[in-house]
Each structure stands twice: as C-alpha cells, then as structure tokens.
Symmetry: C2
Subunit: 333 residues, 2 copies
C-alpha cells in the first residue's frame, strides 16, 4: 500500500470496523464526512476495489462491504502514531458499550484475556489465589477455560488455559452508568508498604504511548505482585484516573457497592483539587487509584510461568465469571 493512499484506506477500514453491519459507498462517505475526513464516493469505490483485491475487505450482498480478518490485522498494524491515544479511545468505546446494571449485578464487563501454559495451570491457580486473597485483584471473579474450549469468539490454544479477569476499565463503565465520566491519566507501578499503597514508582501516560502500560510492566518483569500479596510490600500494577470533583462522594459510595458485588478495584478516592499519592490533580477534579486487573497474571509471570496478556480483550457478561475460590480450587492440585 503506498504511503499517500494508506491513510485514506485506513480511514475506510476504520469506518467498516466501527459498523456492526456491512456498509456501501454511500454510507461510508456519510460516516467519513461526519468524522471530518471528506472523501468522494468515487474515491471510496476506487479504494474499495483495491482493498477487495488485497483481501482487506470483502463484498457482502448488494454492494455492501465488510472488513476481513486480514483487514482487521492491517488496522491493528497501523503505525504507532495512529495508535497513540488508541488505548484511551478503546477504553472509552468499551466503557460506553458496557451497560452494566449495578443493582442486579448483571450486564457486560470489560475483561482481560490471558493465556497460561496448560501444564502449569495448577501452580498458576495457587499463585493467583494468593493475589485474590490479598485483595490485589480487580474484583473477586474470573473465568478459567481449558485448552481447546471457547471464550466468547476466542478459541483457546491446545497447549494453554485461558484466563479472563475483570479489567479495571470496568470501573469506568460502572461510574458512567451512574453518570460519572472518567479520564484515564496513566498506568504505573504502585508501591505497597505494609499492605498500603504509598506511591507510584514508575508511570507511563496513556496519551504518550501506543502500548498498554500495564502489559508492558508485566512483560518487562518489573512487578512484584506475589511478594506484595505474601508480605504486604511490593510493586503492583495500578492506574490513575480523574473524575469531576462533585462526583467524589458518589464515587466513594459506588466503590463500596462494587466491592460488595465482587467487581471491586477502586483503591483510593482523593479530595477535590488535592494531590493523591503525590500526584497533582486539577482544581475541579478528584483523583482515583484503581488496581490493575492483570495483577494475578503478573504474579504468575513472576514465577517464571509464561503468560500472554491482552488488556481490554473483550466484553463479557458479569454472570459468566465466578468467585475466584470456586474457580481456582478446581484447578489447584
């Protein structure tokens, strides 16, 4: 794909990706115009012919196109610059689609999808249990699927177990369902001393990276979640967010309710305009520290058991997840 056409093609692929149904040239043109990326229908048709040929799109029925798996890959491979801010954008999109009902404790939650070597799953289950016991996880529920089974649209590899943990982004979804918008500021390593959070030792701002900060901290083996779970001292994944100052009281109440139904995760709620763990916050805002959903997997990785992790991998019904004691006991020897 030539560089000068590439941007336009990616714009078209993105529109198809965002749509739930196949789209024709007219609707694609409308969507692009609304997004301030005007393109004539003729130009769009020209590009669609070439994306069909390259296998990035395929015709469905009367003049509609949809994205192929290859097209999706092409989008995902889009240059890093196009992915900066992508993490925040993805958070917002998933948050909006969650539609979680707090009262009934039902509805979608955002989950992380991880793979763990099947041969070491019982060891991994013991480790994860410790992290859940110590309250360093996002909520109290998860799902573990055996090799070859299916988790949503994802088929689990034959040599690994799949683990779905609640993603901390679900906190944003619950807050939004109560009318509170959340801004994601950074992901970092949170130092725990004597079971209490003290400070962030490393941070990566969401707006300055094409990668999920917590995935990176796990991959580069910078966490010490297992030690934090066992002794109270260690470095765990966490993130810093902001909400409007008038929502602070409600957020505190919601935090308690979320804890109760097992979707927990808010570690600290600050005061209006006041620094939280030394992190400055604008006047009309309040800081939140939210625990990282991948912490149980970080502890597994620390033990030398290899994992693959995809933060914000999917939406899943909360009811499909079960209390950790129940699930993990089945996999422990």
């Amino acid at each position: 794909m030539e560089e000068r056409n590439r941007k336009k093609i990616l714009d078209i692929l993105r529109v198809l990706h965002e749509s739930e149904r196949p789209m024709g040239g007219t609707r694609i043109a409308q969507a692009l115009n609304l997004a301030g990326r005007e393109m004539s229908q003729r130009t769009i048709r020209y590009y669609l012919e070439s994306t069909d040929q390259e296998g990035l799109t395929e015709p469905v029925g009367r003049r509609g196109r949809r994205l192929t798996t290859k097209g999706l890959q092409e989008l995902n491979n889009a240059s890093a610059l196009e992915k900066v801010g992508f993490v925040s954008a993805r958070v917002d999109a998933l948050t909006y689609r969650m539609r979680f009902k707090l009262r009934q404790a039902t509805g979608g939650v955002v989950v992380n999808l991880s793979g763990v070597e099947a041969s070491r799953i019982s060891e991994a289950a013991t480790i994860m249990q410790r992290v859940y016991d110590a309250g360093l996880s996002m909520g109290q529920r998860l799902l573990v699927a055996r090799p070859g089974s299916r988790v949503g649209r994802w088929r689990v590899n034959d040599d690994e177990c799949a683990v779905a943990t609640i993603c901390s982004v679900s906190v944003n979804g619950v807050l939004l369902s109560q009318g509170i918008p959340t801004s994601n500021i950074f992901g970092g390593l949170l130092e725990m001393n004597d079971h209490r959070p003290t400070r962030f030792t490393e941070i990566i701002k969401y707006e300055g990276t094409s990668l999920d900060p917590l995935e990176i901290f796990i991959k580069s083996r910078m966490t010490s979640v297992y030690r934090a779970a066992r002794t109270g001292d260690g470095l765990v994944g966490a993130s810093f967010r902001e909400i409007p100052a008038p929502a602070a009281e409600q957020a505190r109440l919601l935090s308690a309710r979320m804890q109760k139904i097992g979707i927990g995760g808010i570690v600290l709620v600050g005061r209006p305009g006041q620094p939280l763990l030394g992190v400055p916050v604008p006047t009309d805002r309040v800081g939140l520290v939210v625990i990282g959903g991948l912490n149980p997997l970080a502890a597994v990785e620390e033990a030398g058991i290899s994992t693959t992790n995809h933060a914000m991998g999917a939406l899943m019904p909360f009811q499909a997840l079960h209390p950790f004691q129940e699930i993990l006991n089945k996999f422990r020897k």
Copy 2:
C-alpha cells in the same frame, strides 16, 4: 522521611547533586532561590542535620555538605512523578557536558553501560558483530571489559562482562557543539523492511514516562534486531527528534562526518515542516530518526542471553572506545 518534608529534602539533595563541590547552607539557599524554591537558611540547616543523621549527606571540611551514595539512591528512588521528564532532562544535562571535538574526533561521548553473562560473552560478541556489520548500531565503536575490571567509576561484577556502547544522545552533543539544539520527542520500535526504515510500530513519548523507552522495549523482548541484521526485516530501537528547520542542511553534512569517524547514528533527516516516516513535524522544525545505541544488546537479549542495560550510563572519552571488529574479535571463540 515524612511526606510533607520529603519534597524539600529532595530539593536540597538535588542541589547538592548538581554541584561539583560541597556546598554550605548559604550557597544551597542561593541555588534554591534561583530555582524558585525559596527556603530559609535556618530551615535548610534543620533539614541538613536530619539528612546527615540518615546518612544522605555528609559534612566535608568547614560547614560544607556533599551527597552520599545513599543520598544519590534516595534521589533516584524519588517518586515516578518526579522522574517524568527526567529522561529528557538527563539527556540535556549529558549533552551539555559532552564537549566533543568533531575535527579531532576526541572528547566525551555519552555511553550506555550494559552487563552480559560472562560465560556467554563469546556468543554475545558474535551476535553484536552482526548488528554492527548491518549498521544497526550507533557508530562503530565500543568497549568490552572483563569481569572484575573497572569502567570509569563502575566496577564490573565478577560474573559478567561490561559493554559500553555509544548512546544515541551523543548525536545531540555533536549537533550542540555546532550550535544546533535538539528536542527529544519519542523512543520507539522502528520497522525495517529490506534494510530500509519504513515506520514506527510502537512509540513512547519522553514527556509521558518515567522510564527510558528503549530499555523497556528490550526488557519486554519486543525487538527483533538480530533478524533485521540478518534478513533486513525486523524491529529495531530508534528515536525521533527535532531540530530547527534552518539547521537541516548542516545536520545532513554533520551526519556524514559523524558516520566517517565512527560515531554515526542519524538514519534520516526530514524536510522543514514535513512528516518523516508519517510522523508530523511543526512548521519550523525538521525531524530526525536516530538509531538506538542499545540495539547490539537487544539482539543479545533476543538470543536468551541475559543483559542489564542502563541507557545514558556515563560520559566516556571517545578514544577509550575502539572499532568493533577489533574488540569483538578478541571475545569471539
């Protein structure tokens, strides 16, 4: 150290760290005032007593204090927030101190300090040679020191060899010596296709992180430098910088001269206000892509040989480094 005193103590430690000689209360007060962090001499003396007691500072001669190793550690452990932008600041400080003489090819250069398992150094040397041969290194010179020897102020561990590679920040130093100031924008993974740079696949902006981006990419095993060296296709560490537009022509000439004396590293120089590899650049600026100095070590890490890497570890005389063929041949079997 209590949180409310901590900031002030760190301010004092920082002033002592920046000074080349021990300082008394009066000079510390002056320095703090100039930095907009006014503190009375009485307050300073009060804190200095406690930092002496904690072993963070020590008295030298008549009422002067200097930082101890423990004090330096305390500074380095400062919370992540204090370290954001630290990478850029450290680059600028080292660049200023370089004083490299291009004509004579002498003077200080900024180096990365790495450790490599001593038992696998010959294997590592073979791998690094391939990376240097392929031109994916920063310049053509390095230093390898045997276990137990000294590299500058650093004593090499008994079970590892030390490797000093030219840090890409040295490019900034050479440009500055010719009156060209450089801004560091981001570190990233640069995709090489058929031996040519095509795009950045991941980026981390310097202003949004407390970590060196390239150290992180290596640690999390996201590079494929060895493959890029062997086949021409792969992901290598690189960074994106900007210089004033009128300096573009001179930068191109300097790039060629640097290449010639073995301090190379500028991969691409853009055009005024024009995107470079798809990265937009402000009107009066020109983009630069500079190769990552740690690429040879990334390739070693990719082979499963464990390394420790400190980007911008020290300043070292350029003459202390030698052509890679000469050095690496000694360590190959």
